[in-house]
Assembly symmetry: C2
Homo-oligomer: 193 residues x 2
DNA sequence: CGCCTAATGTGATCCGGATCACACATTAAT
DNA sequence: ATTAATGTGTGATCCGGATCACATTAGGCG
């Protein structure tokens, strides 16, 4: 739980009393590899703050193809936000790719915290702001770039993930086929040598 | 300025005193067709709340191709948010497509309002939440769908824009060539008849 | 330790959509 | 009203990346 304090205090300081109050809204959960935190069709009870591990948020189209909407690692928040905020059934899955633990927060908890503590409303606003900017960047990337550029951008933003997850999933995140991604490497290696 | 009250009160009620205070941070600006509110390389002084008119937020790649990141109409907020929040030079343009007026707010104003009035911090958080969800939907759409599906989705979400702006710009928003979009129509009309 | 399954590389083929090129229609400008 | 500028449809060609198919390697895990 110490993680939580650090995470929040990157944005706003909390005194002990406030922190104690905040903590009452979170529950810690251990997660094993391949375990689902959320399944399509589920009610979306929680959003999750990743304490440890790697997770993917993805959906599956009519043909059974998977598309990764978000790859989350330490200190990232994740869930099917559309369903979470609107309290509808999930259209996405959240699955663990590397075991770890997450802190769970209900929508009610989030709203209560925001209403009771101006600081926490501020915290969530700042987090959302960052998330919004990051998503907008992803939109511009998807609109305009080649698989090559997408991969380079990804490698720059998340060098650690390159090591920790398989290329297949990176391809699904980039919206590129596994094969095309693989061929990029060969092309790169020959030129850069 | 009455628009502003209505807009904010969709999310949180304000008393007269609060409203008066809020108003001091906004300035109204008339905008003519084709006028730029923001130019690549500019310092990003403001974000804009659209009172009237249609605007596009777009960027231009090395080949001179345009990509529309956002199409904004009444009651939408817009600017180059990446640059606005991080106070960097703009990488995008904001241009008017149908004349109207906007309310301008500085980053300092936004932060001051949020700090002084918990209600306003709440307002911005809710707006950001909605924006985040909408952007995530756009990401899933760009990741997985055909031009056909993108167009249908767009037509469903923004039927009014279909009438008011040219196909060329819709194509740039969807990340599809003008010609491909045009051919979709022909295909549609023959089948649905 | 070796088996089975998943991850990766690589060739061959195919196809959707970009691009180029032009005709026609519509709108704006003086 | 005339001319220019911009929007729209449509054909012809081309190419990047998806798809299919298989060989190779690397990891779990019994």
């Amino acid at each position: 739980m110490e993680t939580l304090r650090q995470h929040i205090e990157q944005i706003t300081p909390l005194n002990d009393e406030e922190l104690a109050y905040v903590k009452t809204f979170f529950t810690l959960k251990r997660v094993r590899k391949n375990q689902y935190l959320l399944h399509e069709g589920d009610e979306v009870k929680y959003e999750y703050l990743v304490v440890k591990g790697i997770y993917k948020v993805f959906y599956v189209d009519a043909q059974g193809k998977e598309y990764i909407v978000q790859l989350a690692q330490e200190n990232w928040w994740m869930t099917d936000y559309q369903a979470y905020f609107k309290q509808k059934q999930a259209t996405m899955y959240v699955q663990c790719m590397e075991e770890g633990e997450v802190l769970c927060l209900t929508l009610h908890g989030r709203e209560k915290l925001s209403a009771d503590l101006h600081k926490m409303e501020h915290f969530f606003r700042v987090k959302l702001t960052n998330g919004y900017v990051a998503l907008q960047q992803r939109v511009t990337l998807l609109l305009s770039s080649t698989p090559q550029q997408r991969y380079e951008e990804f490698a720059k933003l998340y060098p650690s993930l390159l090591q920790r997850i398989s290329k297949k999933f990176i391809a699904e995140y980039l919206g590129v086929s596994r094969e095309t991604l693989s061929r990029l490497h060969s092309a790169n290696n020959t030129t850069q040598k």
